[in-house]
Subunit: 332 residues, 2 copies
DNA sequence: CTGTTAGCGCCTTCAT
DNA sequence: ATGAAGGCGCTAACAG
C-alpha cells in the first residue's frame, strides 16, 4: 500500500501532527525529530493523499481546460502554453475538448467543479454568463475567445472582427468589389464576428454588402468545396472569396481548381487562422493570424492570479490584436 | 456552499445513509422516501464530492495522459480520440505534455498517482519498465509508442522501423543509392527505430550504410535547414534525403531550394509522420503515416479494460502497421 | 514544543 | 427498511 502520514509518524517515532508540521513547515519542531521525520518520509516515499487535502478544503491542484474540438496546431499550441505555466506552478491540467452538445458541455463543466481550483473555458457557442451560472460563484474562471455578455468576467479574446475587417480592406485595395464570404457555423461567435467585420469593411468603403454573396458553411473543408458552385452561379461572379477560416478556404481553392479556375488569377481566396499549412500550400494563403501563444499565457496567468486570490485583479475582457498575413492567394 | 449529502438528508427528512442508499441504489428503500430523496437531491443540485469518494478508495474518475511535447495534429488528434472515449465512459482526462527533463517527467507522473485511476503514457526517452517502477504496482497503465523492455506490460506501438524500411526501399527502387538520413534526437526511440529501418533496408539491398550520410538533427525544421550544408558537402552528394520526420523534411526542402536546388529533380526528400501539411505543400511530401486514431482508441480501450479489472486482458505490446505514402517530393 | 481530538463528505458495517 | 457510528488521510484547533 501507499504510505500514509501514520506510517511516517510510526517510523519516526512521533505523532502524526508532528509529521504534518514538519512536512508543511507549519510550526517549529525539535531539530532532531524534524530530521527523523524527513528521513522517514523520504525513505517511505511519502506523498500526502490529494483527496484528503481537497476534502479539507485545500487546493485540488487541478486546473480545468475546456475547449471545443479544434484540430491541429491551435489546440496543441494553446494547450502547450498553458501546460508549461501550469506545471511550473505545481498544478496539473484537466482537459476536455469533446462536447457534441450544449447539454454535454454543461455536464462536463459541472463534473469538473470540485476537481479543479479554476477553469479556462473557450466556449464558442455558449456565452460566458451562462457558463458562470452553471458553477458556484467564486470559482475562478478565465474565458478565452468567448462572447462575454456581462461585466465582472475575465476573458482573453482576440479581435476576430478587426482581423476580418482589415483582411476585407486588403481585398478592396486589390480592386475587388464582388467579394464572396463563406460563413462559419451560425452559433459560433468567431464566425459571426468575422462576418461582421467583413460587412463593416465593405460598407465603410462604399460597397453595399450583398446577402447573396454570403454563403453558408461550417468551417470544414467539405463546406468550402460545397460552397463553390453557389459562388460561381452568382452574376456577376465574385472575384474574391473570403472564407471564414483557413480550412474551408482550402476547400474553396480545391473546388475552384476543379472548375478550371486559377487562384488567384481568376478568383482570389483568403482565410482566417493562419494554420501552418497556409505558409506552405500552393498557393500560399492570405489569412489572419490569431495570437495563440499570448492567449494561452495570458489566460493561465490571469487564472493563477485569481486562484491566488489577489483581489486587485481586473475583471475584464482583454482583446488581443490580430494580424493580416498577405500571401499568394490574393496576389493581384 | 455546495450542498452535501447532509443537506439532502435534511431536506428529505431522512438520514444520510438513506440518501446514500437511494443515490447509489445500494439497497432497497421505501418508495416514498426514495422519491423524496431524489427530489431533494435534484432540487439542491447535489453531486457527491469526488474527493470524499476517492478518499474512500473509490474511483477518482480521472485518466492521466502523459505525452512528450508534440506539435500539431498528432497531439490534437490523439488526444481527441482519447477524450471522446474517456468522457463517454464517465472519466475525465488529466493531461501533461511538457517535461523538459526525465526528472520532471518522473515528478509529474508520480504527482498524478492518486489523482487518476489509470495512465496512458507515451514515453519516447524512458523505457516502460522504468516508468512502472516509479508507480505502485497495480495502477493500470497502457504505454503508447514506448520502448517496452519487459513482459507483462501493455502497449500500443506503431512500426517505426518497418515504415522507415519500406520508405527507404521506395527510394532505392527509384534508383537512389546515396541516400542521406537526417536523424532525430539521440534519446528518442522513434528516431532510433527509424534509423535502424533505414540502415537495414540499405543493407538488404546491397548498399552499405555510410555514417557520413547520417546527419544529426532533432526533429525541428531548423535542424533540417541546418543539416543541408552537411549533405551538400558530401562527395558524391546524396541524391535523396530521408528526414526522420516531416517537420525537419520541410527544413531540408527549404534549405535545398535556398541553395538553388530543385526538389525532387535535384534531390528527392522524404519524411515521416504524414502531418496534414504534407498533403498540400509544394511539392507534396512522400512520408510514412502512423495510425494515430487507432493508437488513441486502442490505448484507451485497453486501459478501461484494465481499470474495470477484466483480468483476461492480454498484457502485451500491440504494434500497429504504418503506411508509406508516395507523393511528389520523391517523384523520379 | 508535541500529542490528542474533531471534523472535511461519504460509504459501509452494525444494530435496530 | 433505516438510523447511528466508524473510518478513509489529513490539517487545525486544543490541551498539555
Amino acid at each position: 500500500m501507499v504510505p500514509t502520514i501514520r506510517d511516517v509518524a510510526q517510523r519516526a517515532g512521533v505523532s502524526i501532527s508532528t509529521v504534518s508540521r514538519v512536512l508543511n513547515k507549519s510550526a517549529v519542531v525539535d531539530e532532531a525529530k524534524r530530521e527523523r521525520v524527513e528521513e522517514a518520509a523520504e525513505a517511505l516515499g511519502y506523498r500526502p493523499n490529494p483527496a484528503a487535502l481537497s476534502l479539507l478544503g485545500h487546493s485540488t491542484g487541478g486546473i480545468g481546460v475546456l475547449l471545443p474540438y479544434i484540430a491541429g496546431d491551435f489546440f496543441s499550441e494553446f494547450l502547450h502554453r498553458i501546460d508549461r505555466l501550469t506545471s511550473e506552478n505545481g498544478y496539473f491540467l484537466v482537459v476536455s475538448s469533446s462536447h457534441r452538445s450544449v447539454k454535454e458541455f454543461q455536464a462536463v463543466i459541472q463534473g469538473l467543479n470540485r476537481r479543479v481550483d479554476g477553469l479556462i473555458v473557450m466556449s464558442t457557442e455558449v456565452p460566458a454568463q451562462t457558463v458562470c451560472d452553471w458553477l458556484p460563484a467564486g470559482l475562478p474562471i478565465v474565458f478565452v475567445n468567448t462572447e462575454v455578455d456581462r461585466d465582472g468576467i475575465e476573458a482573453v479574446n482576440f479581435d476576430n472582427r478587426g482581423g476580418a475587417y482589415r483582411l476585407t480592406e486588403h481585398l478592396l485595395e486589390r480592386g475587388h468589389r464582388r467579394i464572396g464570404f463563406l460563413k462559419g457555423p451560425d452559433a459560433s461567435c468567431d464566425a459571426n464576428d468575422r462576418l461582421d467585420g467583413y460587412r463593416a469593411a465593405l460598407r465603410d468603403h462604399g460597397v453595399e454588402p450583398d446577402p447573396a454573396l454570403e454563403v453558408p458553411g461550417d468551417f470544414t473543408m467539405e463546406a468550402g468545396e460545397a460552397a463553390v458552385p453557389a459562388f460561381l452561379a452568382l452574376d456577376p461572379r465574385p472575384t474574391a472569396v473570403f472564407a471564414g477560416n483557413d480550412l474551408s478556404a482550402y476547400g474553396v481553392v480545391s473546388a475552384l481548381r476543379g472548375a478550371g479556375l486559377d487562384v488567384p488569377a481568376d478568383v482570389a481566396v483568403a482565410g482566417f487562422d493562419d494554420i501552418p499549412l497556409s505558409r506552405f500550400s500552393s498557393p500560399t494563403l492570405t489569412t489572419v493570424r490569431a495570437p495563440v501563444r499570448e492567449m494561452g499565457e495570458g489566460a493561465i496567468e490571469r487564472l493563477l492570479a485569481q486562484i491566488k486570490g489577489g483581489d486587485g485583479r481586473d475583471r475584464r475582457v482583454v482583446t488581443l490584436g490580430t494580424e493580416v498575413v498577405v500571401r499568394e492567394s490574393t496576389a493581384s
